[in-house]
Symmetry: D2
Subunit: 302 residues, 4 copies
């Protein structure tokens, strides 16, 4: 269970089950007949719709969003033609769209600073076969996590970080993201500010965990400020990173009850449990293409 | 807010919004193309799919379930023709189906014994315009609730009940259900056993609230037994009534935390809060045609 | 259940059980021996400690808080002497303290505007015998609630309110608070700003329900802003009113899950359920003398 | 973080803070004056009560339980005399009691079968300094967990187990428990039945995690049966092991929401999250002497 080999073996088994599964995400102006067009297209390509979720931003002149998961025998061989055939439909209905194939696992990078709990939870779920991604690299501005990351066969890169060397640090990080062909960047309690330039490189592809119930306690020291304010619940928020600090589209939030006896240390301890599960949920949903970002909000298709 | 007139006024306004809304529920053998057939049918009848949820019991040779909510201008005038046109499709694909129109409000009866909290919550939600039904009659084996039921303009029928007179009591109840054309029968803490004969009259149309987290504490005295066992959470369960006591399809469950200091009286107090919300949720989902019963379970389309 | 008489009858029964119950709340500089002094005092007055909760703000040089609930046969006749005997102890240890007797029910006023759900929940709990207070007056800047308040035998005062007449409105309200000897003032969705002068009259005796998870969405339109921000949970907060808007000591908070489909109307609907239970809990704890306010936070002795 | 050395270093730091902390648990017939006797005793031994929780099973002729946490400079040197001095008080009031010193860490054994998630969570909390115990041995009937247990410097013993060799297996286990001087035995998804003889060796010292919301789904296959029944919440229960299967005193329970789409595999996945946190909470409370077992229930002093 604790070796790379086993995780790989599990993923191979999963891939086999997933080879005939496709996902189609579409966004377009809402009007009658869209579902008919899409489902008829899939049927004509011998695909059976297994799961379908849709949302209209507005009953009139709104935007239509849909996520379809379909089964198609021999999908791998057919997908190229299917995508080609879809182009005309998309053009006719002004669709933005994405075909995704679960067997083509997304490649994830994890950024972490000193606190390892979120990293550990991600690795644990991944080892367990419950996180459908290849974790291709872990980057940290501390050496602490190296032993157990490398023990799992994952490359660990130590890159010191502070305000003064931010530019060169980010240049190196961007280089590594390219080298490892990273699709998703997970900030698992990475305590450094990212520059707009860096963020723009990875639009809607950086997931952060903020240790408060946003928009309460934006910025630094949320547990300290929660303690000061005397709140009765503390929370955590996972969100896509944008260039407005802690203002990106929220993916998931959760809370736990606290009371007057809980000092800041205790709040952090309770908070770690919340952060772990809130980040993992967000990452899973992203990997399953369940999230659409629209106007600084997320549409979540469970 | 506390008068029948206002509740009626609210419902009129809602009905107006709902006049162009239809719901279609379908159950059939699963195979590719069903969604295409249904969505193309709706599109050809100028209907726009607003909400759609589906479920397959099994990837292979399973049963397919779908609930579609659609918008169609002038639906009232067209629905008869639509339903007629649908017959051939249904026959071709061995569909069981139901067309429902939110403006045709279901007619509900509430049965209650001494404890009024579930009845009160239902009436409150109904007054508030949040329960899309006509409450046409309240039946009780106690007189307690009469004043505030009649104050809302709802007929209240007192029918004494005990084991010895069960047959004639149920005969009278069935007569009233017919007279008031009742679609849904809500047992809001009605503490009498119903005979199989009665239950068969209203298959999948009687919703009960059981004051435990089923299948724990089936039968009488669940709070007493929860206290005896020393559980740390208590719950409530809403379910359709079948002829196996407390074994019917579960619709909704919820729990609250308790501790060793809570005696039976306190458990009941906490439990009332759970019962209220669990019953109301179940009733709402039933009224919105969000529940399909299959093999003693419920499929819930949120 | 729905009449004043029954509510009174219940309260009489409760009073009888409560006649021998006393509560003692103490705040003093922390040092060894305080519990010994207090428990020995109570024992010497034939009182049995039934419940005791304490808290030290700091292990060293901190402040000590304790709430003791004790049983004493014939307490009513003895309490005066007990309180007199306690004076020397209190002086020796620099104690601030309060003796409270559950049978001396606090007198509550409820302020409400148009939305009745919090008022209704309070009245419901009160009718049910679960709110240990006398509701002596309801004040509103709308007439809506009059019928069902007066039906319960509670005086209802309509006082129109707006910015221009605030001074005279508050003068009238203060007069009524004095006339009805009000101990606790509950703002059950009263949508008017109170002046510092008014608030100072009732320090730590005004409980408000704010319809957000504070400190998120301070001020107006919290549900609108929660919708704008795309949060995944909404909440409500009950707190004592101070002269910093929505910044008073928090008593209780709770949340519910929402999603992208929930528009502002739906958020308000879900929010009403949270507001109802969060306000009722806060009021109950206040009535049971379970809350101590310290440095803009609450210590809650459950 | 991942090495034994660091965990030890953390525990040393903690021990230092804890050296002056004592805990006293008392059970005796309820009568006025008990708190006075205990607090005066502690005060006379220069101890300051930091935390105190009590419970009476019954207002009249009940049993009184109290847990006191106190601070005493130089406690280690004084504790023997204190305990000696306490004997007379205990005798006078028919007290059962226990003095506990947090710096004397309890010694824990973990039993595990194939599923490692509960073991992992315990080890994680322990590494993090959040589990105040020495994990002295892990015993399993499978080899899977050996690498990561031994990597933490904890002895791992593989003992194959099945019905036929139960006697000799348990003999070996009892021998190891004695050799390692084990205080607490944690069944972290150990899927073997223990004989009455074994259980009697460790009364109120074996904590099990059962993968259902007891008393629902006692025995084998709870997730399979939860799926069959169509429940809308699944749970887990930690409890002390007695000789009635799954009937021991419940320590903690928690639940998560599930729906009709969750098959047994998904239920197990969700359930693992619940099991992890429910077991860890129970173990923590036990280690902090917060649990008193009385009449097959637990009194929990938080």
């Amino acid at each position: 269970m604790s070796t790379e080999t086993e995780a790989k073996r599990k993923s191979v088994k999963q891939n086999k089950q997933l080879e005939s599964r496709g996902r189609l995400l579409v966004k377009c102006p809402d009007k009658p007949g869209i579902v008919s067009v899409l489902s008829t297209f899939l049927y004509s390509h011998n695909s059976n719709i297994m799961e379908s979720s849709q949302y209209s931003s507005n009953p009139e002149n709104g935007t239509f969003f849909i996520r379809i998961e379909y089964h198609c025998d021999g999908l791998l061989a057919k997908s190229e033609q299917m995508e080609k055939d879809f182009e005309e439909i998309a053009a006719n209905h002004s669709m933005e769209y994405e075909f995704a194939y679960p067997n083509e696992r997304k490649r994830s990078a994890i950024f972490v600073s000193k606190e390892p709990h979120c990293l550990m939870e991600l690795l644990w779920e991944w080892q367990n076969g419950d996180l459908d991604t290849n974790i291709v690299i872990v980057i940290s501005n501390h050496e602490d996590a190296r032993p157990f990351v490398e023990a799992l066969g994952i490359p660990f890169h130590y890159i010191p970080a502070n305000k003064d060397i931010r530019k060169q640090v980010e240049a190196e990080q961007i280089r590594l993201m390219a080298e490892y062909e990273v699709d998703l960047l997970i900030l698992a309690r990475y305590m450094q500010i990212l520059t707009p330039d860096f963020v723009n490189h990875f639009e809607s592809r950086i997931i952060n965990i903020h240790h408060s119930f946003l928009p309460a306690f934006i910025g630094v020291g949320p547990y300290e400020r929660a303690f000061e304010r005397g709140v009765k619940l503390i929370g955590a928020t996972s969100h896509y990173v944008t260039n407005n600090l802690d203002e990106g589209p929220i993916i998931e939030q959760d809370v736990e009850r606290v009371d007057h006896r809980d000092d800041v240390i205790e709040l952090k301890k309770i908070g770690r449990q919340i952060e772990r599960r809130v980040l993992v949920r967000a990452v899973k949903w992203h990997l399953e293409n369940r999230i659409i970002v629209e106007c600084n909000k997320t549409i979540l298709f469970h």
